[in-house]
Subunit: 318 residues, 2 copies
């Protein structure tokens, strides 16, 4: 199931001179605490209906039912779940994330509802964060910061050595637009890139491994940035992580459930991985507390795509 395999229907942007009540209606589906940076600009083109703006906030389902007769487009902000019961009468779902695993795609297909995603708008930012997390874990930036803050530098002297990035073999799990951006960035650091994807990509110069197990065995770092589907859920299994071994590092900027999180936590707690940099988690916003104070783990609150410029790119795309 490819992220981009669901047709993209261009929205005809209205001129800002049109009266507000004449603007096309768009239902907004967002989590309660989400910052909505492109709202203002969208409002010049669409009349946004947001159940959380009602006073008191209305339940998504009852609100949507009320507007279902007049609205055909749903704007899904952040990966808010879209289940079967929300889909009646919609024609288009505009996803604002790269993954679309929060949308019931099977039901959409049955009802001929088009689903769009954020495409490549987020890829450079996600790649930047992946590289940042990798440097942080290997060079112990966060741990070093804690050391300084705790006053230990003056008290105990030198901070223990970190690990060199140059020369590391980096295996990228999923060489889509994000994976390709990561590879482009890591090459000048002197990393040796290889990848796993369903098929070998003829235009890509890096070695290809036919499965994630082989990718893990042959690399020092595993960067997970593929799509989450039913088939890829827990694809980074205990076996794969054990194959990766004690000296290795995992970075995840894809989706939390690509990794068997429970097993990952066990391996990290027992010191059976060198470290991990995680921007995504299986049960967000819940993060396993066992990881909070491990010195070789860096945790980021799913903000790989969260830069205002990134939303400009998304806004343009939508």
């Amino acid at each position: 199931m490819n992220r981009k395999s669901f047709g993209f229907r261009a929205l005809e942007l209205q001129m800002a001179t049109v009266k507000e009540e004449e603007l096309p209606l768009v239902l907004v589906h967002r989590p309660p605490n989400f910052h909505f940076p492109f709202k203002h600009l969208l409002q010049t083109h669409f009349r946004l209906l947001d159940p959380l703006d009602s006073d008191p906030p209305e339940s998504t389902h009852s609100f949507f039912s009320r507007y279902a007769a007049s609205v055909r487009v749903l704007l899904c902000v952040d990966p808010t779940p879209i289940t079967r019961d929300l889909l009646s009468l919609l024609q288009l779902i505009v996803g604002s994330s790269t993954g679309v695993d929060h949308i019931d795609l099977q039901e959409c297909r049955r009802r001929s509802i088009a689903v769009t995603n954020a495409g490549k708008a987020f890829s450079p930012d996600v790649a930047d964060l992946a590289v940042g997390l990798l440097i942080d874990v290997l060079r112990r930036v966060s741990a070093g910061f804690q050391y300084v803050r705790a006053g230990l530098w003056a008290q105990n002297g030198e901070f223990p050595l970190g690990f060199k990035l140059g020369g590391k073999r980096v295996g990228i799990m999923g060489l889509g637009s994000i994976g390709a951006e990561i590879a482009k960035r890591l090459e000048p650091f002197g990393c040796a890139i290889s990848y796993n994807s369903r098929r070998k990509k003829p235009s890509v110069p890096f070695p290809w491994f036919k499965n994630v197990y082989d990718l893990a065995v042959n690399n020092d770092v595993l960067i997970v940035c593929c799509t989450l589907t039913e088939e890829s859920r827990h694809i980074i299994s205990k076996d794969v992580m054990t194959a990766l071994g004690k000296e290795r590092v995992i970075i995840n900027v894809g989706r939390g459930a690509l990794i068997d999180e429970k097993e990952l936590v066990q391996l990290l707690v027992r010191g059976e991985l060198r470290g991990a940099g995680l921007d995504v988690f299986e049960y967000e916003p819940d993060v396993p507390q066992e990881l909070f104070f491990l010195k070789n783990v860096v945790l980021s609150p799913h903000c790989a795509v969260a830069t205002p410029k990134c939303f400009d790119a998304l806004e343009e795309l939508m």
Copy 2:
């Protein structure tokens, strides 16, 4: 004063079969808590005399005085100060750091003592950390980690947006081997590189600014990685930082005293800079405590060069 302008005298490495007492004597000058990763290998070629190995540890000065008649070479581990009174009778000082500002160079010149430095051995690792600190500050990795650890993600929702690295104008202060490695790494992130150095470098494709003030005015990020000399002390003055302005970021992987630290702290505390990533400080290991809990500041305990591989490279060089 160029880092590499002091002649390098090759040390004739002895065969390991030579008896220990016949090995050339080398005085070791190191800070008390420093990990000494290449000691073991050096011991196969030299007899290392270390005042801190005495029981009880002897003062550096009295120990050195005792051996001054038989020793000609001083190995300076980490930037431990070498002052005039330690220089009598030495012929060679082998510095293990890139900077040599901890050595009284004027006195060395007067006494015809050769001084070597670590040359390019550390450059890739320093460049890696500079990029890591920049991503961390812009994308708020450390602040995001704190947010997760404090349980605020589940409680308050989305973490505030960070800033995009792509498109940033990055000014490099000192385009030596470290600066060149930083430029090479940042180009694939979509950064526009420019630099300041004493003279324009004909082989370098990036725009050159004739002074640090112009560099600051024309860039979003200032990366400081030049040599500390009497002329470059506090070269990043209050004026330069004010010219840089509120939306800008400073990264320092050179030496702490290149920046007027007192002024930097004031500007950061008053929110007059977007952020800073600092691996070096004016009075190490003392770090200004005002910076400890600012969300836009990342502090690292001078570990830009601290990877074991990096010491392998150094060891070979020495």
